[in-house]
């Protein structure tokens, strides 16, 4: 029989018994290896591809490890009727997850916090005055959540904006760092994020060396903050190069 909405019986996923901290923490902090075998200061290999969604003005797909994100950009198009007149353009961001994105099945609702963070990270990079009275919509869907979702969404969204031909001062690359005990690990996966003591997210425009967003949560010491920010800035400039290459490839492919 089909389960009708509303009459769905309560279900649970057959998970393993609740995990405690991983055994790697037991002995020496310096000895442990990251679950995917990366160095502490090594990002996951990034894959970007523009033009993932044909019906959008611009779009991009990003994959870092198990984190898979797709972003579509629509517009500039007419703002909602209820909106007041505005000399500058509007940016509208929305991030949602699929129901199967997380290990435990979710509801697939909008992620309000990510939506507003994405908006704030991109706002500073876009030349809003180039499309007065209209709105650019940036919609992101997290297909699979594998950790560091928000930074991947931000980077992917800036690539999608570039694909849509929206004027920007520079691409926005974002990277996060997790603080695990004494160690700083860059680009944490989901498992590492669940054990982290603190996290830092930095979004910047690599070629202008300007930061558009910086957020800290949790416990940090001042030297750690400095180190983590430097790590992020370096990683962002590398990520920016990867993104730029992706755009160049797409442009040269379309010329042929």
């Amino acid at each position: 029989m089909a389960a009708k909405p509303g009459s769905v019986p309560t279900t649970y996923s057959p998970n393993l018994a609740q995990k405690t901290r991983p055994p790697i923490f037991k002995d020496n902090d310096l000895d442990w290896v990251r679950p995917d075998g990366r160095g502490f200061h090594q990002c996951r290999p990034a894959f970007f591809r523009t033009g993932a969604v044909n019906s959008a003005s611009g779009s991009a797909y990003a994959e870092l490890g198990n984190t898979k994100v797709i972003v579509s950009v629509f517009g500039p198009r007419e703002s909602k009727k209820a909106m007041m007149y505005s000399d500058t353009g509007r940016l509208n961001c929305n991030v949602s997850h699929t129901t199967f994105a997380t290990p435990v099945r979710g509801q697939g609702l909008d992620h309000k916090e990510f939506s507003s963070m994405l908006h704030k990270a991109l706002e500073g990079a876009i030349m809003l005055e180039t499309f007065p009275k209209t709105t650019v919509d940036v919609f992101a869907l997290v297909l699979e959540s594998g950790g560091s979702d928000l930074p991947v969404v931000i980077s992917c969204a800036s690539l999608a904006l570039a694909d849509a031909g929206i004027m920007m001062y520079d691409l926005v690359a974002a990277v996060s760092v997790a603080c695990l005990g004494k160690n700083l690990v860059i680009d944490p996966i989901l498992e590492e994020e669940s054990y982290q003591d603190g996290s830092l997210l930095l979004a910047c425009m690599p070629s202008r060396n300007e930061v558009t967003q910086l957020t800290f949560t949790g416990e940090w010491s001042t030297p750690d903050i400095n180190e983590a920010m430097q790590l992020c800035l370096d990683a962002c400039s590398k990520l920016g190069k990867v993104m730029r290459t992706c755009l160049k490839e797409a442009a040269s492919a379309s010329q042929e």
């Binding site: 089909a2 019986p9 279900t11 649970y12 996923s13 898979k68 199967f100 099945r105 699979e144």
Partner: protein, 300 residues
């Protein structure tokens, strides 16, 4: 992309595009007279179709299906439920179809697409009535626990024939589904059994890692316009010519379902038969594509 037009006043590409936008129906009819479509397909041909299995690692089974640029991602997550008292030895399948705002300019957040619930209902009717999955196979402990298979299909790019692509992604996800090995713990709850630690507890579903698919349903949507039948329409074709017929046949060419939701063209029996004949050809193509995707997985 536009064909050189018969009338002399439309000489340049720009004018063809303008003509297409201003008089879409006439633009299409001029093509139809020549038995061709603006994307250079003959009327009865479907677009290129691909299937990729295992697109999402966080699900128990998943598949990405593309028909032309229409893209569907289907994933199945298995959860445990207590079966109802009337049917203690059957599991359940919950099917949902989503059209997130990324897929099309007409869908906006908070304003769901009208098409989504329609396609969701058609999908769940088709999949559950086709007999593809025997719900008894989803039982774990009779009367105590059974699988609830949550099948969620996301439209990533909407360019027509949504139902066909969604059904294809759904059946592909089921063929990729791998059921986790579980055992019953002391509290009467089902837990994943791992190799170490829980070896004293006997798994309850050691041999049932894959669901046996019975006859697999495949579908083809056709547009009826005057006397023409256009297989596998794009979003543009669907918006201009509104009468569609969706035929679902299973792998042994038996009719599973047929939808003709109204529309301006009243179909003659012969037109319906032509649609069924087109679907029969298409089923063979789709079967081959699915088999190739599955055998491709086994090689890795």
């Amino acid at each position: 992309m536009g064909l050189p037009n018969a009338s002399g006043d439309l000489s340049t590409e720009v004018e063809v595009d303008a003509f297409r936008r201003l008089f879409p129906l006439r633009f299409f009819e001029k093509h139809l007279l020549e038995s061709i479509r603006p994307d250079a397909r003959p009327l009865g041909r479907a677009r290129d179709t691909t299937i990729a299995l295992g697109a999402v690692a966080s699900a128990n089974g998943s598949a990405l299906a593309k028909i032309g640029s229409t893209t569907m991602l289907a994933a199945i997550k298995m959860e445990v439920m207590a079966p109802s008292i009337e049917i203690p030895d059957e599991g359940c399948i919950a099917i949902d179809f989503h059209m997130p705002p990324i897929c099309s300019p007409i869908v906006r957040p908070g304003r769901p697409a009208e098409a989504a619930p329609v396609v969701a209902k058609q999908l769940s009717d088709t999949i559950l009535s086709s007999g593809m999955i025997n719900l008894k196979e989803l039982s774990l402990v009779s009367g105590k626990a059974a699988w609830m298979a949550y099948l969620d299909i996301y439209c990533l790019d909407a360019d027509g024939a949504l139902f066909d692509a969604a059904l294809l992604a759904a059946v592909a996800a089921f063929s990729h589904l791998e059921i986790p090995v579980v055992s019953l713990n002391d509290d009467g709850k089902i837990v994943l059994s791992e190799e170490q630690g829980l070896s004293d507890r006997e798994p309850v579903n050691k041999e049932k890692r894959k669901v046996n698919l019975g006859s697999i349903p495949f579908s083809l949507t056709c547009i009826l316009h005057k006397n023409y039948i256009l297989a596998d329409p794009t979003a543009e074709e669907e918006s201009i010519m509104e009468t569609s017929v969706t035929v679902v046949l299973d792998s042994s060419s038996q009719l599973v379902s047929l939808y003709k939701p109204g529309g301006a063209v009243l179909a003659y029996t012969s037109a319906i038969q032509d649609c069924i004949a087109l679907t029969r050809q298409r089923v063979k193509e789709l079967q081959k594509i699915l088999e190739e995707a599955i055998s491709g997985m086994e090689v890795d």
